[in-house]
């Protein structure tokens, strides 16, 4: 008959000498296995013993089991700790080695900038409106107060297909279409889209470009509201320290009309090389919607008024990302597009 205490001692000794998980697992099976484990075997003849001895042996066997289990757990913890302790040496890698290429493509920088502009204006309640790129003379010019022979037509030299069909020179036709569709103000819309003018390609302008125009028609809007909207937009896109100024200008579809400038981000308006010592960067045009243009959109100028503005998405992207040549946006050189 084997003494439970001796058995325990033997097990503890074996556990203390074990150096791997596998050895411990073998010891566990050897002593604690349900079928042929040595502790179980202790109890194999227990049925023949008198009840008093049976109780003593049962208790001793349980104690042995607990002691062995505790020793196993302890030794396991020691082995784990030891293994984790030298991870720094055994599994060290060169963390300066670069990761593999992600293999992702890019979204075009103009899409990104357009979306940023849309987000800012959507936060003010403006909604995106779209319209056709091939327009009629009426929507592109006449509805905007630019009748045939008007001297301002020079500024919008356009590509024609027939005497009445042309590529839109601005997204303003979408404003007319939106007014006609919505009919009753309030109208707060933005009109992103491609436009075309018959200017030969150069570093600062292209015969094709993209605009975002905005239009607000409501009751009692003011030049101050227009300035505030532009300032909110510019500060949201370029930072709170930017300022906006409006300068009188002329467009047939607004009265009064303005150009709007943004303070130079480098010199903050003092004048530097990047703003050609002007302190300001020209961004776009704006103004209070001409009463005749409201009428052409089916809106009664006695009851409502409005303001509108427009600028090139490329221009905004150039200012934001220091792009010096507008042609890069449409050349589709991946070395450029992958920078954004």
């Amino acid at each position: 008959m084997i003494n439970p205490q001796e058995l325990t001692q033997a097990a503890l000794a074996a556990i203390a000498q074990a150096h791997t998980e596998d050895e411990l697992a073998a010891i566990e099976v050897d002593y604690l296995g349900r079928k042929n484990g040595r502790v179980s075997n202790l109890l194999s003849g227990i049925g023949k013993l008198p009840s008093a001895e049976r109780a003593v042996l049962g208790q001793a066997a349980n104690e042995a089991k607990r002691a062995i289990e505790a020793a196993l757990a302890g030794r396991r913890r020691e082995l784990t700790d030891a293994r984790l302790a030298d991870l720094a040496e055994t599994e060290a890698i060169d963390i300066t080695f670069p990761g593999p290429a992600l293999g992702r493509g890019r979204i075009h920088v103009l899409t990104q900038v357009q979306r940023q502009i849309e987000s800012v204006l959507e936060s003010l309640g403006y909604k995106v409106e779209l319209g056709p790129e091939v327009e009629t003379e009426w929507y592109n010019f006449e509805a905007l107060n630019i009748p045939p022979g008007h001297p301002a037509r020079e500024s919008w030299d356009s590509f024609y297909f027939t005497p009445d069909l042309l590529l839109r020179a601005h997204t303003s036709p979408v404003q007319i279409r939106a007014m006609q569709r919505i009919k009753e103000p309030p109208i707060y819309i933005i009109t992103p889209g491609r436009c075309y003018r018959r200017d030969p390609p150069e570093a600062t302008r292209l015969p094709y470009f993209s605009q975002v125009e905005g239009l607000a028609v409501d009751k009692a809007l003011t030049v101050g509201d227009m300035k505030g909207t532009l300032l909110y937009m510019i500060q949201s896109l370029y930072g709170e320290d930017r300022r906006v100024r409006v300068r009188p200008s002329y467009f047939p579809f607004t009265e009064p009309s303005f150009e709007f400038d943004v303070s130079c981000g480098i010199c903050a308006g003092a004048g530097c090389k990047s703003c050609r010592y002007k302190g300001w960067l020209e961004v776009g045009g704006c103004g209070m919607v001409h009463p005749q243009v409201l009428r052409n959109g089916g809106i009664d100028p006695e009851k409502w008024n409005g303001y509108a503005w427009g600028f090139g998405i490329e221009r905004m992207a150039m200012l934001k990302h220091d792009v010096e040549d507008i042609r890069l946006f449409y050349e589709s050189d991946l070395r450029f597009l992958e920078q954004f």
Partner: protein
């Protein structure tokens, strides 16, 4: 337009206002000064040449001058011979930097010392003439040159097309006067009239055929003039504005053009046949030798000035050589007319000739301006060329300019600007700009704009006048807001919805491009996608003469460009409209502009790599459609222009065809100089967006699935899609999914056959399936495949 600061000083007191300050005021008022060139003459002094001798030794001709500088005499050497003894000349002493940047040094030239420099107009930046020394017509030796010629500053300004009055110095000065709140020194309408007999209108007979094209024609007769060079100050001012001096008469017409913005022309009256001026359309075949020496053929849509026989000028554009004023001229007909803007522009465009005159007439000049300009020019001619101006000029003016009166509710100023401008300020501003304001009993204003301001017609125009002088900087920025009782709910924009597809493409390694919509029509023809193309009638060049009917040609060119620049793998896409003209009798309508997704990717060089790329492209499309929220599309074998005939699928969403997907035709790649293979697709996006719905959650399966593979051997022509349809039909409702995953040819598969492997998943939402149940369904599937496709099976 070039604006001389000195000239502005004729009209408004600029004391204490620097050129820079004046430029800033003008910019704030709407005359945008783009650059300012200042010329400081204060270091240059006046000298008088006492003696001039040729340098005895120098090989290049040089002249040695003794120059009286008031308190002393210096020896100065120059290369031009025109500073003869007695001449007054500008002198720069050693150590001075002349305005064009040259530093003057103490020199010794072949034994003769030179203590300074005699300056040309170019060196002083007073013009482009560098042929000789600038000879002064006044000045005292030793005095600063600024006693004769004031410091110069020239602004380059952009005048908006509604303000032709600002295409002259007087108009610009009026703006400046209003901005500075200083009075104008000169009235708009000069008081000058001619006095000589006989009346001018007896000397010339003026007639206008079409008053719509010429609303006024003033012909002023001036006799006994003496043509010759004009005074230095006129020449200097013309040069500053980029106009070349010719003779006093011509210079005066140009001078008044630059001053009043009224173009004028001077004819040699003696050369006008029949003493007639006839403003008429040109006759077919007529020609005119113009002042620039070019003979131009005239067409009947052009307006000309003719004498009894022939055209003598192209109205509003350029005069004729034959009747021009020369040194021999003694009698002048001074033309001051008002020509129709669009007509002048059309003619100028037809000749590709934009003159100072046409640039002004194009904008539409007021007829009242013609008289002011004529009087100013006549006065100058009388003063500077010694002529006798005849009284009662010919002045054909059938419909005098109607004054426009505007009813202004003066509180409109505050309402529109969003800032309070006191009524007195508003009124004062309008008056400074030349408006007459009468306050009516009800508080409204009756406003009469000055005759030269045809652009002001409605109350909002007056608000602008007040606003720009009051200063828009003084309008505080605000955000609009009032209680709205009507609104439209927010919906994501089309662009934002399409970003879901952009995300898929980005993740799959595709980069977005924006390519020009104008492409070469010839290229579209070559690719046989030009049938419904819209051609530009006034293209800039033939590589941008047509609107694209497909995004793919641009994308193929993008691949070619990036390959050229060393990129091996190119995967690009674009989301943009294609343009399809209507056919038949609707060709003049706006075209269809389907919004498309075009995608192009490298497909390696082998048939096998092309096949794989084709399936990868399908995954990209399926991914996009799925992320856009639409049900999956289906594919049918198809043939399409630009695509490989054996590797092209038409894509459908329900019954609607979205477009094509496939390998590009080898000839397309050859045409674009691209080697290897490309796989592409072009899809209409609007139907996909229309079909989009909200994704609904599916209950997660509670019971395990049983998976089976099935290798189906069929003849080559049988499509996996057809097998899949049969499997699904036969699979009963416990077939959860079926997916072809491999295609095999070779051992165990007969010639002309292929083996297509499917992964089948069986599952019931109600219980755990048994193998026996699945075996039963598998048997049915096999039976159906055998029946329908004569399929065999590999184990």
């Amino acid at each position: 337009m070039k604006i001389s600061y000195e000239w502005l000083g004729d009209f408004v007191d600029l004391n204490g206002v620097t050129p820079k300050e004046a430029a800033d005021v003008l910019t704030r008022l709407g005359v945008e000064v783009e650059s300012l060139t200042a010329v400081d003459l204060s270091e240059i002094i006046v000298g008088r040449v006492i003696e001039q001798v040729k340098h005895p030794k120098s090989r290049t001709p040089l002249w040695i001058h003794q120059v009286d500088l008031g308190d002393r005499t210096e020896q100065i050497i120059a290369g031009a011979p025109n500073a003869v003894p007695g001449s007054l000349v500008p002198v720069a002493l050693p150590g001075t930097t002349v305005p064009n940047g040259k530093l003057v040094k103490d020199l010794n030239i072949a034994g003769f010392s030179a203590k300074g420099m005699l300056c040309s107009a170019e060196e002083l930046m007073l013009g482009e003439d560098h042929s000789g020394i600038l000879i002064l017509d006044a000045g005292k030796p030793g005095d600063p040159l600024t006693t004769v010629i004031p410091n110069q500053a020239v602004m380059d300004a952009e005048v908006t097309s509604n303000r032709p009055d600002c295409m002259g110095h007087m108009g610009v000065a009026r703006e400046l006067a209003a901005g500075l709140d200083r009075p104008m020194k000169v009235d708009f309408m000069p008081a000058f009239t001619g006095k000589a007999d006989p009346p001018g209108r007896d000397l010339i007979d003026v007639s206008i055929d079409d008053p719509d094209l010429c609303s006024r024609y003033i012909g002023g007769a001036i006799t006994g003039v003496k043509a010759g060079p004009s005074p230095k100050w006129i020449q200097r001012r013309l040069r500053a504005c980029g106009v070349r001096p010719i003779n006093n008469i011509v210079d005066i017409t140009n001078y008044v053009l630059l001053e009043y913005a009224q173009p004028l022309h001077a004819f040699d009256l003696a050369k006008l046949s029949g003493g007639q001026v006839h403003v008429r359309r040109a006759r077919a075949g007529e020609k005119l030798l113009c002042l620039d020496g070019i003979e131009r053929e005239l067409t009947p849509d052009m307006l000309v000035i003719a004498d009894a026989d022939k055209p003598v000028a192209i109205a509003g554009v350029i005069g004729g050589e034959e009747t021009a004023v020369t040194e021999a001229t003694t009698e002048v007909l001074l033309e001051s007319a008002t020509f129709n803007g669009p007509s002048v522009r059309q003619t100028a465009r037809a000749f590709g000739l934009r003159t100072e005159a046409s640039a002004r007439f194009e904008k539409g000049l007021p007829a009242e301006l013609a008289l002011a300009g004529a009087r100013r020019a006549a006065a100058l001619i009388a003063e500077l060329a010694g002529g006798a101006v005849h009284r009662e000029w010919a002045d054909v003016y059938p419909q005098p300019q109607e004054p426009v009166r505007i009813r202004l509710k003066p509180w409109l100023v505050d309402e529109v600007l969003g800032v309070h401008v006191p009524l007195d300020d508003s009124e004062a501003i309008l008056v400074r700009l030349g408006f007459h304001v009468r306050v009516l009993g009800d508080g409204e204003w009756d406003v009469l704009p000055p005759v030269f301001r045809l652009d002001v017609t409605i109350p909002e125009d007056l608000v602008e006048e007040v606003g720009r002088v009051y200063g828009y900087d003084r309008v505080p920025p605000t955000l609009p807001g009032r209680r709205h009782d009507k609104w439209t709910p927010a919906v994501p924009s089309q662009g934002r919805r399409l970003d879901a597809a952009r995300q898929v493409l980005t993740g799959a390694g595709f980069t977005e491009t924006w390519n020009p919509a104008l492409v070469s029509g010839r290229l579209l023809e070559q690719l046989r996608v030009g049938a419904r193309a819209l051609r530009v009638s006034n293209a800039l060049s033939d590589d941008m003469d047509t609107l694209r009917t497909s995004l793919l040609p641009s994308l193929v060119n993008v691949v070619a460009l990036n390959r050229d620049r060393g990129r091996t793998e190119v995967k690009v896409y674009e989301i943009a409209a294609a343009f399809l003209a209507h056919v038949g009798d609707k060709t003049t309508q706006q075209p269809e502009e389907p919004l498309r997704l075009g995608v192009v990717a490298d497909a390696g060089t082998t048939a096998e790599s092309g096949r794989k790329a084709f399936y990868a492209m399908k995954s990209v499309l399926d991914g996009c459609v799925r992320e856009l929220g639409a049900p999956p599309g289906t594919y049918q074998r198809a043939a399409a222009e630009m695509f490989h005939p054996g590797r092209c699928a038409a894509v459908f969403l329900d019954a609607r065809q979205l477009g094509y997907l496939g390998e590009l035709h080898p000839s397309v790649l050859t045409g674009a100089n691209v080697e290897g293979r490309l796989v592409a697709m072009e899809i209409d996006l609007e139907p996909v967006l229309d079909a989009a719905g909200v994704k609904r959650a599916q209950t997660l399966p509670r019971f395990p699935a049983i998976e089976r593979d099935l290798a189906v051997v069929v003849e080559e022509h049988v499509a996996a899609g057809a097998l899949l349809a049969t499997i699904k039909e036969a699979g009963s409702d416990i077939l959860d999914s079926a997916l072809p995953f491999d295609e095999y040819r070779g051992a165990q598969v007969p010639e002309g056959h292929k083996s297509v492997a499917f992964a089948l998943t069986f599952r019931s939402p109600e219980r755990t399936l048994t193998d026996a149940e699945v075996d039963e369904v598998m048997a049915e599937i096999k039976l159906a495949l055998q029946k329908k496709h004569s399929a065999g099976f590999r184990t």
